[in-house]
Amino acid sequence: MLASSVQRSKPTPYPSKARSALIRRAIVVALVLVALTLVTISFRSPTAGALHDVQGAGSTVLRPFQIAATRVAAPFRDAYDYVHSLANAKSENKKLRQINAKLREKDIHRAALAAKEQQLAKLLHFEQGRAFPNDFQAINVAVIAPPSGPFSHSLTVEAGSSSGIRLNSPVVSGEGLVGIVSNVTPHTAEVTLLTDPDSFVAARDVNTQVRGMVHTGPGGTLILDQVPKQLRVKARDVLVTAGTRNARYPDLYPYGIPIGRVSSVGATDTATFLQVQVQPYASLGSLDAVAVLVPKKPRR
């Protein structure tokens, strides 16, 4: 029994199913071919031709439906936009704050550069002007340590003896006299300011030719001292360095460097001299760059 072969019945064909599969495939192939034909025609003439006209007409027909759909969706879209903007507001705010901080930083940096540039321009103007002493040369230096407080009357510049700076060299800014070099190292120098209690500068009133000595008076203000009461000094008069009067005793400051302007003049019956208060031209607390005046001929 086991060895005998079993006659298998012939498989039953499924003509209807096979035919439907064929039809199905034919439909899909036809649709794909039509789509490919449309793509080809449309791609070859995208802006002209019958197909383009049909597409245009179809688009015109669809337009009202599109507008209707847009109008129906408008309230939902508005609601979505509202929620979306609310959700993004926090992160956007953070981002804007960061941008704002960066812009502020840049603005401050630019303002600082502009202020520095203004000082340098004034300094250059002074060095090229008529008030600049001929027998001196200017060494322009940056201020690396400004006066540290109200009781400090000196600043440090980033050049020293290696740049040609010498002790007792006058120091000026674009506005006027700053002080004198009081200490020198190879690469830095200390400048004692005009407002230092030990600083004395022989000065002359440009308007009245009256001479005196500029130094810090009681209370810390700058005064023009040693002016006899009978001499005439007015408020707003300009004071410059008096320069050398006797060649045997040369002055440390050359003639004509602007010092400041007379801010007030007073006199008492008991005092021998006038009480002349001076407002210095140089902004001694906010200097970025100064010029050290070094004599062209070395002093004996």
Binding site: L31, A35, L38
Partner: protein, 174 residues
């Protein structure tokens, strides 16, 4: 498929195509656009089979290309194949499976995007593959969110066909 079913299906796909072009195309979430037309087509093809899916995809694509004044036939081509393939899946393996709509939407979303990318590339048009790939996951998520309500709506609109009405090439032996 009866005439009534045909009219309903045509109306469904027409509304979905118009809504897709006019409304949903402007919604961008993480670089992806929710595709209500694709999800509707998947639901329709699962319920009505491959031929209906292919025909539906073809005409829905024509509406999209006409309304957006794009290259005529381009979307049709891709949607025809998508409708046919999902229809076949519904007729065979995916029959009566609860996860079939979700699986179909996820797979078709990827194939549809890649298909469009390939067609655009072949035509020499702009085909930003990086942007498409990056937007795939968000697109799948968005379409999956749409799947449940749209499938329920389409199922309600078009009565599911009995098993014996569907074409079946897979013969179960035994």
């Amino acid at each position: 498929m009866t005439l009534g079913d045909g009219v309903k299906a045509a109306a469904l796909l027409f509304v979905a195509a118009v809504a897709q072009v006019s409304v949903f195309a402007e919604i961008h979430v993480f670089g992806a656009v929710p595709d209500v037309l694709l999800v509707s087509l998947v639901a329709f093809a699962l319920l009505r089979g491959s031929v209906a899916g292919a025909v539906g995809g073809f005409f829905a694509g024509l509406i999209v290309d006409t309304a957006s004044l794009g290259t005529l036939g381009l979307t049709s081509l891709v949607l025809t194949l998508a409708g046919y393939w999902i229809g076949r899946y519904g007729e065979t393996t995916g029959r009566d499976r609860a996860h079939a709509p979700f699986l179909s939407v996820a797979v078709v979303t990827v194939l549809y995007q890649l298909g469009l990318l390939v067609v655009h590339f072949v035509l020499g048009e702009s085909a930003p593959a990086g942007a498409v790939v990056r937007s795939l996951v968000p697109a799948i998520v968005l379409n999956l969110i749409l799947t449940a309500p749209i499938y329920a709506l389409v199922r309600r609109l078009l009565r599911p066909v009995q098993r014996d009405e569907l074409t079946a090439e897979v013969q179960l032996l035994g």
